[in-house]
């Protein structure tokens, strides 16, 4: 099994996952709808004080993105677990970590990317614009893949459970905290007109680290879940 066939397996698995999501559609639409509704609820719940909304905007958008991403996590492995595709994945001729990476990439393209596309609209709703908006998009772009990568560990750990829904949030949310902290602080600082290289570097470091390391525990957890 050479590297070409591994690259082929990666791209084919990625494409197949995208095709499946496209054929089901609700998988990618629901998280976005959830995201929009939660942000709207925050705006309604805190009243129409523009200054307050503006100061809360980074936090509200990031927390909503976090929750939306978490709710969609199960779809990475759940259906594969149920129809037996997951065991075939583990028994494939390729390293499981690479295949896991393909599945996580597909998940991010389907659930993370749409969030980033609608985020500008929500920013305008909350009164965030200019520098702050640009930084928010940038942080989401770096941050949401981390959510998918780290979240995959949580799903892999709980996919064998009949009711994994609540426990997965307990596992995954603490690990999301650093992303939330650096993401929101970058937006706040840049909205106040300051350089945010530090926060962005931190997020980038987290992303590189998650890319390198997260597939390992995910693969191990999948083996555990199937045993």
């Amino acid at each position: 099994m050479n590297d070409r066939s591994l690259a082929r397996a990666f791209s084919l698995l990625l494409r197949r996952d995208l095709v499946i999501n496209f054929r089901q559609r609700s998988e990618c639409v629901n998280p976005v709808l959830f995201f929009v509704i939660v942000v709207t609820l925050f705006a309604l719940g805190t009243g129409a004080d523009r200054a307050l909304l503006l100061s809360m905007a980074p936090g509200v958008i990031w927390v909503s993105a976090l929750l939306a991403s978490m709710l969609s996590l199960e779809s990475i492995f759940r259906s594969d677990f149920e129809d037996g595709s997951l065991e075939q994945l583990l028994l494939s001729a390729h390293p499981v970590t690479v295949l896991v990476l393909a599945k996580v990439t597909a998940h991010w393209l389907v659930t993370g990317l749409p969030l980033i596309l609608v985020a500008p609209l929500l920013c305008i709703l909350l009164g965030l614009s200019g520098e702050g908006l640009e930084t928010l998009i940038l942080t989401l772009l770096i941050g949401t893949p981390i959510l998918s990568l780290v979240g995959a560990i949580g799903v892999a750990l709980t996919v064998g459970l009949r009711r994994g829904g609540v426990i997965i949030s307990l596992l995954v949310l603490p690990l999301y905290i650093p992303v939330l902290i650096f993401g929101t602080s970058a937006v706040q600082m840049s909205a106040a007109g300051f350089p945010v290289n530090g926060q962005l570097s931190m997020l980038a470091a987290l992303l590189a680290l998650a890319l390198a390391l997260a597939p390992l525990p995910t693969a191990a957890a999948l083996r555990m879940s199937l045993s």
Binding site: A9, L12, L13, R16, V19, D83, L90, L91, S92, L226
Partner: protein
């Protein structure tokens, strides 16, 4: 279809060697001190009541499940160390078909090829042998249970694997389907392949010696 002769002869003990296998579930022993060998051209049928650990044994042989103790060697190396090297020489059909309902028949087979070590057999030939010709573009979820099972069996033809591990392969197959499956198995064996399987179905494979392993 199989690895050519000289390569195999260099190996001391080609095939699957299981020794002292012990498996327990929820503190109850399913089987203990299980040992057997499987060589080229041999068929092992695992028998036993429901819950006697047949599926567990097969999953241990795949390397999905962990045994309590004992070793499983493939060509003299433990399967845990071989990892993907073992998996590319092995095909597993479990209780679940492992096919995606939202992909077409052709897409499913293509994916199976990419995940394993692809065989030279082309799509049309595979479909013809499984009597699924004309179903290329049909979504797998529209197939009947028997057709889905046959699609799952396509994995055996789409990839090159010396060892087949089949858990109840005849489930939901009709008479014709069972015949197709039996043909697949006997042709695999005559080409020097190995098969471990469980079945409730009484097997009749002319010209094939069947080793039986009873779990109690």
């Amino acid at each position: 279809m199989l690895m050519s002769g000289p390569d195999q002869q260099q190996r001391a003990e080609p095939g699957l060697t299981v020794s002292g296998l012990h498996c327990s579930r929820d503190g109850r022993d399913l089987f203990k001190d299980l040992s057997f060998r499987l060589r080229a051209g041999e068929l092992l049928v695992v028998e036993g009541r429901n819950g006697s650990g047949k599926t567990s044994l097969l999953r241990i042989l795949c390397g999905i499940r962990m045994q309590e103790s004992g070793s499983i060697n493939w060509d003299d190396s433990p399967i845990g160390e071989l990892g993907p090297l073992y998996h590319q020489e092995m095909a597993y059909i479990g209780h679940h078909d492992g096919i995606k309902g939202d992909l077409t028949v052709a897409e499913n087979i293509q994916l199976a090829k990419a995940l394993g070590k692809p065989s030279g057999t082309d799509l049309q030939t595979i479909l013809k042998r499984l009597q699924l010709s004309g179903y290329n573009e049909v979504l797998a979820r529209a197939l009947s249970a028997g057709q889905k099972r046959r699609l799952a069996l396509s994995r055996l033809l789409a990839t090159v694997s010396r060892l087949w591990i089949l858990d109840e392969p005849f489930t939901s197959l009709d008479r014709r389907g069972v015949e197709i499956c039996e043909q697949l198995i006997s042709s695999h064996l005559t080409h020097g392949g190995m098969v471990v399987m469980t079945s409730h179905h009484a097997m009749e494979l002319p010209g094939v010696e069947i080793t039986r392993l009873r779990l109690s």
